[in-house]
């Protein structure tokens, strides 16, 4: 639970380093907070993966991250009709990276499930290799989606810190594996923490 909170704090605090009270209205801020919560969940899933991983807990938490990501996407698509126009050909590249990141997350989850895993991967080491590689690409495209949009990360140092955080998680496995096998948070805890951080993020930027 501590690692979950720490991951959320790292992701959300970077957005508050500059202009912490600035927002785009409660609807916009709440939708983006869901996106940050999904990203934090993705990082947490990566940090907690090691040899003695509780596969079932990892899998269920992956569903949670997919759920929050889906909520982030449909929140905007259904509520702000202009967003749809930024999901068509000609859209900014950071939007395409967001779409690709979501598709990669879906593939990451579905291909990891038996029996499809056996169809795609010949052995377990091959699955682990490709699963990790796909996770790195998912984190990379999601990071670009967030940083290049400049929403809440308007200064160069916020963008740099956010990118460094993502790089540290994606490529720092030899370092964070020394933390030992962290006990994975329950999906209910992840959803509750997501809701709490999203509410705080939205309130700070919108309350007078």
């Amino acid at each position: 639970m501590k690692a979950l909170i720490a991951t959320f704090l790292a992701v959300f605090l970077i957005t508050f380093l500059a202009a912490p009270a600035m927002g785009g209205g409660w609807y916009w801020d709440a939708g983006n907070a869901l996106g940050f919560a999904a990203f934090a969940g993705l990082l947490y899933l990566t940090i907690t993966s090691s040899r003695r991983l509780d596969v079932r807990a990892h899998q269920v938490l992956g569903y949670g991250v997919l759920f929050v990501t889906t909520a982030h996407i449909f929140w905007f698509m259904l509520g702000d009709a202009a967003v749809i126009e930024f999901m068509k050909f000609g859209a900014p590249d950071y939007m395409w990276h967001g779409i690709v990141s979501f598709l990669l997350l879906g593939v990451l989850i579905t291909v990891a499930l038996v029996p499809d895993r056996f169809r795609v991967h010949s052995d377990y080491p091959a699955f682990k290799y490709w699963h990790r590689l796909l996770a790195i690409f998912t984190i990379g495209t999601a990071t670009y989606h967030i940083v290049a949009s400049h929403f809440y990360l308007g200064t160069w140092y916020q963008g740099a810190l956010f990118a460094l955080l993502a790089i540290a998680v994606a490529f720092g496995r030899p370092w964070w594996i020394r933390l030992g096998q962290l006990r994975l948070a329950h999906i209910g805890a992840y959803l509750a923490v997501s809701a709490a951080f999203a509410a705080a993020f939205t309130a700070i930027r919108n309350l007078p």
């Binding site: 600035m22 785009g24 449909f74 698509m77 702000d80 009709a81 202009a82 879906g106």
Partner: protein, 122 residues
């Protein structure tokens, strides 16, 4: 899980293709201002921007880069048309962000629909 994920993608594709079933208003891309491609409508009310110095936006008054309406150059000049979306997003959003950061009454950056419904405001 495959079915759920496929259903999510299908639902997303339907919303992109046919629009949001719950959003009240939908922007319509069209050849506004004789643009060479379909663009989103834009809202801008001069009456809401009276405290802003004219040349903050109307740069042509100080750099002699053209005359008339903004769109005369920004959608017809092939050297700036490719930058149209980025330039206007940067101009509007940056100004609103800077004012909000300074605590000035400039209105916050806002959701897309707040700017992308056409209007006839002066």
């Amino acid at each position: 899980m495959k079915v759920v994920f496929a259903a999510i993608i299908l639902a997303g594709a339907l919303v992109v293709a046919f629009g949001s079933p719950v959003a009240n208003e939908q922007p319509v891309r069209d050849f506004y201002y004789d643009a060479p491609d379909r663009i989103l409508p834009m809202s801008f009310a001069h009456q809401d921007h009276v405290p802003v110095n004219c040349v903050d936006c109307h740069h042509n008054y100080v750099d002699d880069t053209g005359g008339g309406l903004c769109m005369n150059c920004h959608v017809t000049d092939q050297s700036v048309w490719p930058l149209f979306e980025q330039q206007f997003h940067d101009l509007c959003r940056t100004c609103h962000e800077e004012k909000a950061a300074l605590g000035e009454d400039g209105g916050p950056p806002r959701q897309c629909m707040a700017c992308h419904l056409g209007d006839d405001l002066p």
